[in-house]
């Protein structure tokens, strides 16, 4: 709530120097102190609405745990699928009658492994919901306190990581539809 701080600034700027000070305007000071108290109460209320403890205690650790589980599940599924594919490719069986049941068994293993997608989908939904909550609450808080980002507030370690990412072009996978197509890359190498 900017008006309270603006009023205080105005009081400081318009106040006569101490030597020339006249009678104190108690009413005005009380009014300004009231505005400051209202502002502090408002900020406290907005900090409360942020529910930072709940975010730190529950939502963020849960989201982190879900992502960790997703990583493990995808790695495990990839391992199972690849092991089955390697068994099929590497089979030395020459009899089709014996080869077929071997292949079928491995295909069933592949199909079973693919069920990871359902579980990881649910886990990722939880993470998306947590991120949505954080975005919503931070957005509300930033709006309520009229927050402005300052350039010098960046974490030094993050600044180093950012500089490295920029220098070595570590962009990561592009968003859907934004990646250069393999055909267009090929034209550069023709």
């Amino acid at each position: 709530m900017a008006p309270a701080s603006a009023s205080l600034r105005k009081v400081r700027e318009t106040a006569p120097p101490p030597a020339a000070a006249g009678p104190v305007d108690v009413t005005m000071i009380m009014r300004e102190l009231g505005a400051v108290a209202d502002y502090i109460a408002h900020i406290k209320s907005e900090i409360g609405a942020l529910r930072a403890n709940e975010l730190c205690r529950d939502r963020i650790p849960t989201a982190s745990e879900e992502l960790g589980s997703t990583l493990k599940a995808t790695a495990s599924a990839a391992h199972t699928i690849m092991a089955a594919a390697e068994d099929i490719l590497g089979s030395g069986e020459t009899s089709m009658a014996r080869y077929r049941p071997q292949v079928e068994e491995r295909i069933i293993a592949i199909l079973e492994a693919c069920s990871f997608q359902d579980i990881t989908g649910q886990r990722l939904s939880k993470v998306a919901e947590a991120l949505g909550q954080i975005e919503k609450r931070l957005g509300r808080f930033a709006g309520a306190v009229n927050a402005r980002d300052t350039a010098d507030a960046q974490d030094p370690e993050e600044a180093l990581r950012q500089a490295r990412r920029e220098m070595l072009l570590l962009n990561g996978p592009a968003a859907e539809g934004k990646a250069i197509a393999q055909d267009d890359i090929d034209k550069l190498f023709d």
Binding site: M82, L170, I185
Partner: protein
Amino acid sequence: MALDLGMPILVVDDYQTMVRIIRNLLKQLGFEDVDDASDGTSALSKLKQKKYGLVISDWNMEPMTGYELLRHVRADEGLRTTPFIMVTAESKTENVIAAKKAGVNNYIVKPFNAQTLKTKIEAVCGA
């Protein structure tokens, strides 16, 4: 000129699943002498110990990226002619151009298929 299936190939990727995928694809193509490294630093060390006919490298790795590895390879008198294919999820035009300027022989974006890998290896090492 046919592909030399006996040539040693170095696969550089920090993601073991991807190493395994590329190894399997190379095996299907007939390449048997395949080594791997998990980042540019260990790749560089292996490149100095053994003569490889091809390097297939990811871009985003720690501590040394594939892009840094490529620049080291091209700056090294003994390694500068080693064929180098980048296989990466880095799919911005600036990445492809930077890699080309640094001397990469070809560039594949993930996810890719066996045919793409085969075509690029043939283009770089074959006829």
